[in-house]
């Protein structure tokens, strides 16, 4: 699968997740994402200590599947990070750990996670000019 197809596949996945979980408006709240996490058995940890650049991390190992989000994030970056990490659950869970900060955002897996999150929260369809 080439890069363009990979990104299109992730956008399709995001639209599928929206449909399956009844997300019908661009206003997605943390509680919406928590509901999706719960359905898939993902534990959410809002880590109360300070990170410099890290926004979130995804870990999948013998202890289970956990998404950590830096607690100090403002609401919108927090929701985006939760959506971003959800992509790692659907597509990258065999990698064990993924983290999200400014140093790795140019990697295709991370770009893919940003594209997935953007489509999950703000679908192209809703933003297109008719």
């Amino acid at each position: 699968m080439n890069t363009q197809h990979y990104y299109e596949d992730l956008k399709a996945l995001a639209r599928q997740v929206r449909a399956e979980h009844g997300l019908s408006s661009p206003r997605v709240l943390p509680t919406d994402l928590m509901r999706i996490y719960e359905k898939h058995g993902i534990v959410l940890d809002q880590w109360p200590y300070r990170f410099r650049n890290l926004r979130g991390a995804f870990i999948n190992d013998h202890l289970g599947t956990t998404i950590m989000v830096a607690k100090g994030l403002p609401l919108d970056p927090m929701v985006f990070t939760m959506a971003h990490e959800l992509k790692h659950f659907f597509r990258d869970r065999d990698l064990g750990i993924s983290y999200c900060d400014q140093s790795n955002l140019n990697k295709s897996l991370e770009i893919g996670a940003e594209i997935f999150a953007a489509e999950l929260l703000f679908p192209d369809r809703d933003l297109s000019v008719t």
Binding site: I59, D61, L63, G64, N104
Partner: protein
């Protein structure tokens, strides 16, 4: 020694040996942690069971790893290798973020150990989870 006894003894040891053996009163530790003064006494005697979040706070206050609250046989070498492997993936993080992510990963592992020991009878020994 049972895990909960180990935790209780560790809290007392850290408090008594604080500041090169000068020690710290239960009231002072309670103030630092934001809990009631008699809670420290109850943790140290095993009357109350601290939550894993409480243990995390205590470990950070005393500057020790959360792993030190658990018997070494439970923090086994194989799983330490898993932790190292996870963190190798994140070696490009800012050093401060890498250190914080390590603390989070240790917390997550400690929770896995601790919840298995406290879930059936959380809180007071045999009582409510604190």
């Amino acid at each position: 020694m049972e895990v909960l006894d180990h935790v209780a003894a560790k809290i007392r040891d850290l408090r008594v040996s604080y500041n090169s053996g000068e020690g710290l009163s239960q009231e002072s530790l309670a103030n630092h942690l934001g809990v009631a003064a008699n809670t420290i006494s109850r943790w140290e005697t095993g009357t109350y069971v601290p939550s894993i979040v409480d243990i995390q706070k205590i470990s950070r206050f005393f500057g020790v790893s959360i792993n030190s609250f658990f018997p070494s046989e439970l923090v086994n070498a194989d799983e330490d290798e898993d932790l190292k492997a996870l963190l190798r993936t994140a070696r490009n993080l800012h050093p401060a973020d890498l250190e914080e992510l390590k603390k989070y990963a240790e917390f997550r592992k400690a929770r896995g150990i601790y919840e298995g020991k406290t879930r059936p009878k959380a809180g007071r020994k045999g009582g409510k989870h604190k």
